[in-house]
Subunit: 291 residues, 2 copies
């Protein structure tokens, strides 16, 4: 199952999820200017980053919004980026945060698990309820695909509705997490995690131990590292024996070439060094925790 | 403001929102076979439907999932459909249900309020909280754009999280609705409704009077009519003096040509007749309610 492939990738390469949220402004001018088309510039930038990080990154997350913003050309680059990652044997997450009723969800499944925009995992928003995930289940049961449900996100606004206390004394996000862990029982991998993962931001370390224990079969996609405030020490609390989660970094890696410490390096060499640094930082704390 | 344009469109043309959820399978074979490309077939089908209904439909809702499912070609048809609607002066809703953190939301705003995929309104999912809507506010304040937040959807799964009871004794969807009505105060149109509307399914008529009263400045986008069980009588409860809401129908109108009563008619003539029937049905009850 794809979740086992992700689990093995973490074992082999560490916990880094590289977010290809490639903003045009992130691309060094002299590189961008080689390409007449913006979509092409983004694609070539992505390829350089991918080539330089394949052996130190567990999974790539492609945020579709950055490509949609450039219209059809951007989406061609999105499609080509996913195809390139597939060719290279990398695990991919399409960060699309869809969530809709049955017929529409079926179309989203077709869009993002097949054809031009095919990815291994997609992110989904749970607001509309459990039946919005139903149309994806046959793909999950095939073993080739997985999803990450938004459970507790890393932004400040997560307090507004995710953190609402229910009459039963739970938070909304706890209820969401539990419902999807239960659904995941039907699509468990050999690694012990299910094909239904959870987005679990590392910006609130309160209650993390409780969540890690409750959602013990749920693989975490962890945003919020770096710029948003999450540290390697925080992140370690979201892992189990160093696995069971991947930690996303986008700007931190894509823009590493702007850091003083990487001066003189190409953008992709700097990205590689930054990914290694992040991997090792997380490893240090997640290993320390075990001992 | 665009919400005033929508309000006026309802006054002039009734409450029908035509959902262009155009599945390839909806298109009559003899029409589809004229086009080598599936995207082109969908676009030409949409144009015929649009031309036949412009004077009896308040607004068109284009569900992006159906186009994404066909990849790049599908999204070209999506883009061209929105451009055609704009040329014709129609009000448009892009049903995209996005919802993401600030930087990403900015990209979505650029994607769907500018460029290839520009629409007048977009739908947004509230799960991640209020700050996910912030990047759209400058567009709303310009007067040219609006959003519909998912509040209470029409599917069975809406019971799972939208209906969770909070410690304060509210439902989650009530909390969501109120928060966004309050935010909408800063973008009120002359018609009394704000540029922040709500998706409010007509499949649960319980509590509708309470919601209509509480969310008195919130324009409703109402799914669930027809196939999902909502009737014209139900829908009337969601309106205020016959305005303040539009009622979506997709398959009911697009597939009207398969109904016995429209035998011998073209698909677009049948669509027109069905839209008129729906408009008049709703009008009957919403007017009856006033008297």
């Amino acid at each position: 199952m794809i979740i086992d492939k992700l689990y093995d990738a973490v074992k082999e390469k560490g916990n880094v999820c590289l977010g290809l949220d490639t903003d045009l402004d992130y691309i060094p001018l002299e590189f961008k200017n080689q390409y007449a088309d913006d979509g092409e510039a983004i694609l070539q930038f992505n390829k350089k980053i991918i080539d330089a990080t394949l052996d130190v990154v567990a999974v790539y997350k492609v945020q579709i919004a950055y490509y949609e913003a450039l219209g059809i050309n951007g989406l061609k680059a999105y499609s080509a980026t996913l195809k390139y990652l597939k060719e290279k044997g990398a695990v991919t997450i399409a960060d699309i945060k869809r969530g809709d009723i049955a017929n529409t969800a079926k179309m989203y499944a077709k869009a993002h698990f097949e054809g031009d925009f095919e990815a291994d995992f997609i992110t989904l928003s749970p607001y509309m309820g459990m039946d919005t995930v139903e149309p994806f289940m046959s793909y999950l049961k095939s073993g080739n695909k997985g999803v990450f449900m938004l459970v507790r996100t890393s932004n400040g606004g997560s307090m507004d509705f995710e953190y609402l206390e229910t009459a039963k004394g739970n938070k909304v996000y706890e209820e969401v997490g539990e419902r999807f862990q239960n659904l995941g029982e039907s699509v468990l991998g050999q690694c012990g995690y299910s094909a239904i993962g959870a987005v679990m931001g590392c910006t609130h370390v309160d209650e993390v131990a409780k969540m890690r224990e409750k959602l013990n079969k749920t693989f975490f996609l962890i945003p919020g590292y770096g710029a948003q405030g999450g540290t390697a020490k925080d992140v370690a609390l979201y892992l189990k024996n160093g696995n069971g989660g991947v930690v996303n970094s986008s700007r931190g890696i894509l823009l590493a070439y702007k850091n003083k410490e990487h001066e003189g390096k190409s953008f992709y060499e700097a990205a590689r060094l930054e990914a290694i640094k992040m991997r090792d930082e997380i490893l240090k704390y997640s290993t320390a925790k075990e001992n």
